[in-house]
Amino acid sequence: MLEIKQLHANAGDTPIIRGIDLSIKAGEIHAIMGPNGSGKSTLSNVLAGKPGYEVTSGEILFKGRDLSEMEPEVRAREGIFLAFQYPVEIPGVNNSYFLKASLNAIREHRGEPTLDAMDFLALAKEKMSHVEMPSDLMNRSINEGFSGGEKKRNEVLQMLLLEPALCILDETDSGLDIDALRVVAGGVNLLRSPERSMLIITHYQRLLDYIVPDYVHVLADGRIVRSGGKELALELDQKGYGWIEEQARTEGHE
């Protein structure tokens, strides 16, 4: 599904990712953990194609194709979905209108028939029930005046509607109370399937109690410094990131 080879990338002019290798197969769930500033969000932005983030060397293959030349909307249509850490508020743009435009752009790309307003609303209603989202949020401007939890639900709702091949969750747990976390994780778990991969970026182990990963990687200073199974997350939770950062620094100077 996703092959990252010796990736180096900048955020603006600053080198952040300094050599990442990562392979995610269909159906796998990978978690990336790491302290603040380790490059977690840069990695997700690079994968989604955010302007201002530049691959300086190495490559990213998605379903065997080089991502670097693809516009963000093309990546989305090909099946990459980034759930934002801070979903953007867009005044004046109706949430329902946006979701329908998005879904139809992607369905068209897949060669599926587009949905009319009625069919779309029926589908959206069904998906909304999975994330316990109040129906009036559909008729508001995108994320405007939404609580933190409502914004994250809206992200997962989009994921449920678009059914991407690769879901990237960028600190989806941040700012969520335990009930909201359970609902959001429940929505994500509905998407688990042998054809779908997930990359879960998080600072805390907490989310991984609900969305159990197959692999855990620790990112420090722009590199993956340790990989393991789900038990690695627990170890980090107990010991913190200090020891790993220390290790990364020593290795970096070798």
């Binding site: 989604a48 955010k50 516009e71 989305a76 953007v88 005044p91 004046g92 946006f98 752009a105």
Partner: protein
């Protein structure tokens, strides 16, 4: 005016002379009451004295009227062709539910109009009837040229000298009917001019929505020189909607002046989507305590269009409130002007005035001159203003694209989103929905034009 002087001796610019000659030539055809002929005479004398404004005047610093002066505009002949009922339904679907007066090149077209026949006292009359000494003459004589003086305003002077027709609207005391009043001004022909004049009197305790919609059905250079005078009496609530969507060769100068009495509320919604050169002069006089003015505007344009908005809110007495929200969207080489003046008179304590002018520039060559101007001569007041000039939000653009929405479509969505607030502020869902459609399609055209010019 001396008729004996030959035009050769006249040092005035050609544009000015043109209108003086036309006025003199039309003198024998005009048949109106004496007071009107006196008023017209005074108006043309004012125009002869001041001529068209130059950019040396502070009020006209950013806007040149040269394109208007260059064309020898003529009042159209009698063959003014009215829009068909089908065209009318397409121009304004909302008109079917409204009282409506349709004007073609400034003249009322009775066949296309649906006017109240003395229904509980609501009056929408042709101004021409009143000017010819008809039934509304006394009312017109008492109010005309009171709110919109012409002494220092060349365009209002021209309108006053040449006005043929327009609407006389009187909303009776306590009127609460929801049905909106819709005045449609259609321009036709080439190098034609019209001087629509509207007089609105909202009696105490009345509430109404009045739309003035300026449209061209085809191409051709036209000049609409509109003047609207409004009196909102005690406790009246008026929503006045100005929609300007004439073709890309047309010029539009509009002067709207309102006087507000105690506890009245006037909301002015100005939506400018068309025209080569548009100048809006909006003046609200808060003349008695408790008056509230709400000015909302959206102006949008690409290519080489020029849109100029001048507002003046005069807090003449204490305890009045004014709000101004003007949004500009400019692409191509378009230029926009927003000059918002607020005057708080020395006695006008407890005045509350807010002004905001956010602008969106979609192209490097587009330009906006924004100049808020607060003249505060009282000390216990709450006044603030702010203006911003920005581009589309990058984060929002990426957010939409990351969901599969094409960049061009994402830009259009965001631009529409920026504009949406003004249409959403219109009263009645059917009206705001309709305005939203007009704005959305204007944004689409603007986005498409810009794509075309980039490639």
């Amino acid at each position: 005016m001396s008729r004996s002087s030959s035009t050769g001796d006249d040092e005035r610019p050609l544009g000015t002379r043109h209108y003086l000659e036309r006025f003199a030539r039309a003198a024998q055809h005009r048949a109106g009451p004496g007071w009107l002929e006196t008023l017209r005479g005074e108006a043309i004398a004012s125009f002869a004295e001041i001529g068209f404004p130059t950019r040396r005047l502070e009020e006209w610093r950013y806007t040149s009227t040269a394109p208007i002066e260059r064309v020898a505009f003529e009042l159209p002949e009698s063959d003014r062709s009215a829009p068909t009922p089908e065209e009318l339904a397409e121009i304004a679907p909302c008109a079917s539910q409204a009282w409506r007066a349709v004007f073609v090149d400034g003249r009322l077209c009775a066949e296309r109009s649906v006017l109240p026949a003395d229904s509980g006292g609501l009056r929408i009359d042709s101004l021409a009837d009143a000017l010819a000494g008809g039934e509304g003459e006394a009312l017109v004589a008492a109010h005309l040229a009171r709110q919109a003086p012409f002494k220092n305003d060349a365009f209002t002077a021209l309108n006053t000298a040449f006005m043929e027709d327009g609407a006389l609207v009187e909303i009776p005391p306590g009127w609460q009917e929801e049905r909106p009043l819709y005045l449609l001004f259609v321009s036709t022909g080439n190098e034609t001019i019209s001087h629509p004049r509207t007089l609105v009197i909202a009696r105490p305790g009345s509430r109404a929505t009045l739309i003035q919609d300026h449209v061209s059905l085809d191409s051709g250079t036209r000049f609409s020189n509109a003047v609207c005078e409004v009196l909102a009496e005690e406790n009246a609530a008026l929503d006045l909607v100005l929609i300007q969507r004439e073709n890309a060769q047309s010029y539009h100068v509009s002067n709207l002046q309102a006087v507000q009495e105690r506890d009245s509320r006037v909301a002015l919604h100005t939506i400018t989507l068309g025209g080569a050169l548009v100048r809006n002069e909006l003046g609200l006089m808060l003349a008695a305590p408790g008056a509230e003015a709400d000015l909302r505007g959206l102006f949008l344009g690409g290519s080489r269009r020029h849109i100029d908005n001048h507002t003046l809110v005069d807090h003449a007495v204490p305890h009045c409130t004014s709000r101004q929200l003007y949004k500009g969207i400019l692409g191509g080489h378009a230029r926009g002007v927003f000059r918002g003046r607020v005057i708080v008179r020395p006695d006008a304590q407890k005045s509350d005035a807010l002004q905001s002018n956010p602008n969106l520039l979609l192209a490097n060559q587009a330009e906006i001159n924004t100049k808020p101007q607060l003249e505060i001569r009282a000390d216990d007041v709450k006044c603030s203003h702010g203006s911003t000039i920005g581009q589309l939000d990058r984060e929002a653009l990426f957010y939409l694209r990351s969901r599969g929405v094409e960049e061009r479509a994402a830009r259009m969505l965001l631009t529409r989103g920026f504009a949406a607030e003004i249409a959403a502020g219109l009263p009645l869902e059917s009206l705001s929905g309709w305005a939203r459609q007009l704005v959305d399609s204007a944004v689409e055209t603007l986005t498409a034009d810009m794509e075309g010019s980039e490639t």
